[in-house]
């Protein structure tokens, strides 16, 4: 499965698709990027006259790249089926703010994939290479 095919299998669309590119992916992890368009709706209110990317959105970017893309890759054997996914836990530390138009890279390392549950150690870096957030994310990834 190509990286583009993985993105096309993601169950998201605009304005809630937060994966631009998968840089590399294998059975142990994934690396991908996303650039925050300054016109994204939530910047109008978070915060008033002071747009900063909400932590919940950073978490979502980490989950979509780090967990869902990897989960689809790991379920590759069921090509014609669509994966059913559910986020089950997150524990993230937010270290630096992310502003509109910033491009972030998510690096995810598989902790385990057992009995349909995928758990990953995930970090997000900005273009300078600084870690902006880091933590663990888990979800159920099951082919229907």
């Amino acid at each position: 499965m190509t990286n583009q095919e993985i993105i096309s299998k993601l169950p998201y669309s605009k304005p809630f698709l937060f994966v631009d590119e998968i840089l590399k992916i294998n059975e142990n992890g994934v690396e991908g990027t996303y650039t925050f368009d300054e016109n994204l709706d939530f910047y109008k209110g978070h915060f008033k006259d002071n747009p900063v990317t909400p932590g919940i959105i950073l978490t979502e970017v980490m989950a979509q790249i780090g967990l869902v893309c990897l989960g689809i890759f790991l379920l590759d054997n069921s090509l014609n089926k669509n994966p059913s996914i559910a986020l089950t836990s997150t524990a993230i530390e937010f270290l630096k703010p992310v502003f509109p138009n910033e491009k972030v890279t998510v690096i995810s390392e598989k902790v385990y994939f057992r009995f349909g549950k995928l758990k990953c150690k995930v970090i997000m870096k900005n273009e300078k290479g600084d870690v902006v957030c880091t933590g663990k994310i888990a979800g159920m990834v099951i082919s229907k």
Binding site: A86, R114, F115, G139, M140
Partner: protein, 85 residues
């Protein structure tokens, strides 16, 4: 395998994942992980991985599906431990 001791060990393993303190406090071998302790299916995976680690055993899909209560967990642990020797 000492039954009381194993129940105590299992109690320590499930403790971080339970959502029903009352059922946990009165845990017996008939306690159901999902219906009584309100452990969800995602957390049950962690319970099983912790059991694997604690007893140094590997739990397969078939055993995983049966591991729904304390009694079944104890039986599976005992079986897997005896297969090891």
């Amino acid at each position: 395998m000492n039954k009381e001791q194993t129940i105590e060990e299992l109690k320590n393993i499930v403790k971080p994942y339970i959502q029903n303190q009352e059922a946990f406090d009165s845990l017996t071998e008939n306690t159901d992980f999902i219906n009584d302790l309100k452990i969800n299916s995602a957390s049950l995976v962690d319970v099983i991985l912790d059991i694997e680690e604690k007893y140094d055993i590997v739990i397969d899909n078939e055993a995983m599906e049966r591991m729904l209560n304390v009694k079944a967990a104890m039986e599976i642990i005992e079986t897997k431990l005896s297969e090891k020797n």
